[in-house]
């Protein structure tokens, strides 16, 4: 019935055009992103070869890759990486789930927010790494202390961002839900959660990054496996190449996490204009 004026109205908003133009720019961006590190590595290698930098502190990239291959074939690198990833994974969920629930509840209920908010924002500024001795004391040297450290790192950014996300939802949307007969659980599922989702994903990304930092620190002190332990052990053995291998793998994990979470964000917030 109104189809005749539809194309004009849609045309002004350009549904298909914008992403196309963006992806062209994105291709060039990612080419640049690969090029810069490659050039940097080449320069580094060159500087070591001509003895311009001290190879005891900055071993040549080729030496680092050689060490990496050795450690990979012996299975050592694999074992440490799996140990760290496992703690990261379990700790991530252990921190995420309560943070999500608490964050939404604090966003929705004024009195709960008043009750819990001082507790959360009061402990938030404590550097999480400073909690390590206490956590080791409570949970011992086993797996649990490492997992708890990751969980703490994930918990704070997620709970705070979730609460903020719920709070910034326009009150009108709650009125709409009420007017259209949504019950409590339905309001949670159709308004509070999706409305806060972009902010929640920001919190999750921050939390995952913090979790990665904390797992490395925790493994240096209280573990005999994991990438953190591997780096610390390399320092004690004065195996500088191994230290760099550890740093490289951690960096790769961080990068992979960011990619993965970006993908997850696209899936759970499909309404957001592509970033």
């Amino acid at each position: 019935m109104v189809t005749s004026e539809m194309p004009a109205e849609v045309g002004t908003k350009g549904r298909a055009q914008r992403p196309k133009r963006r992806s062209g720019g994105r291709g060039r961006d990612s080419a640049l992103a690969v090029l810069t590190p490659v050039v940097l590595l080449l320069v580094w290698e060159l500087l070591v070869r001509v003895d311009a930098v001290d190879a005891r502190f900055f071993p040549a990239p080729s030496a680092i890759f050689e060490q990496m291959l050795t450690m990979m074939s012996s299975g050592e690198l694999w074992d440490h990486t799996v140990a760290s990833l496992r703690r990261l994974f379990i700790g991530f969920w252990l921190g995420l789930v309560p943070a999500l629930l608490l964050g939404v509840v604090m966003g929705l209920s004024r009195s709960l927010r008043a009750a819990i908010s001082p507790l959360v924002s009061g402990t938030y500024p404590i550097p999480k790494s400073a909690l390590l001795p206490l956590i080791l004391l409570i949970f011992g040297l086993g797996e649990m202390s490492k997992i708890v450290m990751v969980a703490i790192g994930v918990f704070y950014p997620v709970v705070l961002n979730t609460m903020a996300g719920v709070l910034q939802i326009q009150p009108m949307y709650y009125d709409v839900a009420k007017n259209f007969g949504a019950r409590r659980w339905q309001v949670f599922r159709t308004v509070a959660l999706p409305g806060a989702m972009p902010s929640i994903m920001t919190g999750v990304e921050l939390g995952a990054g913090l979790g990665l930092i904390l797992i490395a620190i925790a493994e240096m002190v209280g573990a005999n496996s994991g990438l953190g332990f591997m780096i610390w052990n390399a320092w004690e053995l004065y195996s500088v190449e191994t230290m760099y291998v550890g740093l490289l793998v951690i960096a790769l994990i961080g990068y992979g996490l960011a990619l993965l979470l970006g993908q997850v964000a696209r899936i759970v917030t499909p309404w957001q204009a592509q970033r």
Partner: protein, 313 residues
């Protein structure tokens, strides 16, 4: 019933109370009711609403009384800030009156009492067009086959079928407003409440949506309470128009619109009576708009003294 001094309540209409024709107005600009409506759907009895704010008490509505017959397309015009939205929110049950009462005729079995089209952008940005339009039905647990049928029908009527999987940010303002209309109609309420649904649209889109709205409404002839600040819109769409005073809001006049149904939105504007009615309403409004402007001119001084700003709607 008249004696029950229940305050701040919404109660179902007592069937013995039907047919009272309340006119809380000084003048009725055009001849009295031509149609013999006896079935009152919405009755507002001496409803007052006061808001306590930091800079004092704001009386948004002042003992407003009116009856809206079943099936009437009822329009409300008034200067901004006169309490139109407040009245609609009270009718929707989103707000309670401070004193007085609202009676709404019992809804037909299995139907929601009312659905509101909110002022401004109110469709959920995180839902597709389809999920937005089916929202009310999904919340009520209507079987999915029925949802497909009803929502499909209204998306078709609003020209949105091709955009069922689009998100609001991919749509123009006019199309988003269509989603809002589809959402309310698909919910199949007894009473439709609309708060300036077209005020953000350009003139062409507005005219287009007005005639679409009338076409969809003609299928069901539900009771509609429609707020607008456009006198033209009021005359184009309505059966009866309430002109409101500036704050504190009350009924200044009720105007009957004599045009037959179904109407042709454009043709209507050619008729000599159209201009007469628009002129009549403008006469009623002029004093009120001036008065509300004077009140606003006086306001900055008060705001300055307390250093406060009140967030109006």
């Amino acid at each position: 019933m008249a004696g029950t001094a229940v305050t701040g309540k919404r109660v179902p209409i007592d069937s013995t109370d039907i047919g009272r024709n309340t006119v809380g107005a000084e003048t009725a600009a055009v001849a009295p009711t031509k149609r013999q409506d006896t079935d009152v759907k919405v009755a507002v009895r001496a409803v007052a609403k006061r808001f306590d704010t930091r800079s004092g008490t704001v009386t948004a509505l002042d003992e407003l009384t009116l009856d809206i017959p079943r099936g009437q397309f009822f329009m409300i015009v008034g200067p901004s800030g006169c309490g139109k939205t407040t009245l609609l929110r009270i009718l929707a049950g989103l707000e309670d009156p401070t004193t007085g009462e609202v009676e709404v005729g019992t809804a037909t079995e299995g139907r929601p009492e009312n659905s509101m089209i909110f002022q401004g952008d109110s469709i959920f940005p995180w839902m597709t067009v389809w999920d937005n339009a089916s929202y009310g039905l999904r919340m009520r647990g209507v079987p999915s086959g029925k949802i497909r049928e009803v929502v499909g029908h209204y998306l078709d009527k609003t020209g949105l079928t091709a955009f069922r999987d689009s998100y609001p940010h991919q749509l123009s303002g006019g199309m988003r407003q269509r989603v809002s209309i589809a959402r309310a109609f698909a919910n199949d309420p007894d009473v439709l409440l609309m708060d300036e649904p077209f005020s953000a649209l350009d003139e062409q889109n507005k005219t287009l949506l007005q005639s679409e709205l009338l076409r969809i409404w003609d299928e069901t002839r539900k009771t509609v309470v429609f707020i607008t600040h456009s006198v033209d819109e009021a005359v184009t769409l309505g059966d009866r128009i309430m002109v409101m005073t500036s704050r504190p809001g009350n009924a200044k006049a009720f105007v009957e619109v004599p045009f037959e149904r179904p109407r042709d939105v454009l043709e209507l504007r050619h008729r000599p009576e159209y201009g007469d009615i628009v002129y009549d309403i403008w006469q009623q409004l002029r004093d009120e708009v001036e008065r509300s402007q004077q009140a606003q001119a006086a306001a900055p001084a008060r705001r300055g003294r307390f250093g406060l700003r009140r967030g109006g709607r």
